[in-house]
């Protein structure tokens, strides 16, 4: 389910069945080199598609949140994300997944309260090109299996 009026209505009816949240972690910063800004914008586009597809596949069990925006990853940012996660944890969701292409989170993984799904997304490409599409499909397939594994464990 998505963070939309219609889907949230369904969510409220079916809370007991929706035990998983998916939080896309998206960096937004102007204090970067031009190429780096372009790269994170591209990576964000790719991540959007992945989240969309995963939500479609697991509509009845996953609530996909709007992006969680941050500027840079430091201890303060880790605390902020954990505070946000804590509130969801109380709801209760059994599985809280962050999804991100940022290595910065990978490094801090052990300090995070949710489960990080880190995907090494290419820094450049054409979202409409066949190669990119195949790469994205491949990633989606793997994340799908990963999520199912978490559910079954």
């Amino acid at each position: 389910m998505k963070w939309t009026r219609q889907d949230l209505k369904s969510y409220i009816q079916a809370k007991a069945y929706v035990d998983t949240v998916l939080v896309p972690l998206i960096p937004v910063s102007f204090e970067k080199m031009d190429e780096d800004m372009i790269a994170i914008a591209f990576q964000k586009e790719v991540l959007d598609i992945m989240v969309l597809e995963l939500e479609k596949e697991f509509k009845g069990r996953i609530l996909a949140l709007p992006p969680y925006i941050y500027e840079s990853i430091d201890q303060d940012e880790v605390r902020r994300l954990n505070r946000f996660t804590e509130k969801m944890d109380k709801l209760p969701f059994r599985h809280i997944f962050y999804i991100s292409f940022d290595q910065g989170w990978k490094v801090k993984e052990k300090d995070l309260d949710g489960t990080l799904i880190w995907i090494p997304v290419a820094k450049d490409g054409d979202i409409h090109a066949k190669v990119t599409q195949n790469m994205v499909k491949d990633h989606i397939q793997q994340i799908r299996d990963l999520i199912k594994n978490y559910w079954n464990s």
Partner: protein, 170 residues
């Protein structure tokens, strides 16, 4: 005094503009269904209804296979291409059954033999929903109705799919 008058005029002007705006909007609203009404039959005839070519009929086996296809979807804001899927197979009497993969419980995507523990069933990974091969939900699993069935037709050896509809009660 004169200040006040100015204000009033401008307020009336403002109202005027707004109303014209709304009126124009309403007129457009009235026009567009009429236009659509006029254009629609032509479009339909060209596209062969809302049916989309999906797969050659001779590729369809008695084992359900998943085929993807794209349709144009128009909502209030965007026109977009949406990928749909169907589980298609030949039934015992030779007729074709094309099932929607959307679980009737809460909308996850089901797959044929998606769980090793449940051979010969459609399986929903979200809450272990099960369906028999003909799409009917297995009692005591979360889904409460059968998988929806696509309208289909065959033309020149191609399978065309239309809309997925709830199974009619037998």
């Amino acid at each position: 005094m004169s200040e006040d008058k100015k204000k009033q005029v401008s307020r009336r002007q403002f109202l005027n503009y707004t109303l014209t705006g709304v009126g124009g909007f309403m007129a457009a609203g009235m026009l567009s269904p009429m236009l659509r009404f006029a254009i629609d039959p032509v479009l339909k005839a060209q596209g062969g209804g809302d049916f989309v070519a999906v797969v050659e009929v001779d590729k369809i086996t008695t084992e359900p296979q998943r085929f993807d296809f794209t349709i144009e979807q128009v909502d209030a804001w965007y026109e977009s291409e949406v990928t749909k899927s169907a589980w298609v197979f030949k039934q015992e009497d030779g007729s074709i059954l094309a099932l929607s993969p959307i679980c009737t419980h809460l909308g996850c995507v089901v797959s044929w033999e998606g769980s090793e523990n449940h051979p010969e069933r459609f399986y929903c990974p979200c809450h272990d929903g099960l369906y028999y091969k003909d799409g009917v939900n297995v009692p005591n699993t979360p889904p409460t109705e059968p998988l929806h069935v696509y309208d289909y037709k065959i033309q020149d050896g191609m399978l065309y799919l239309g809309k997925a509809k709830p199974r009619e009660e037998a």
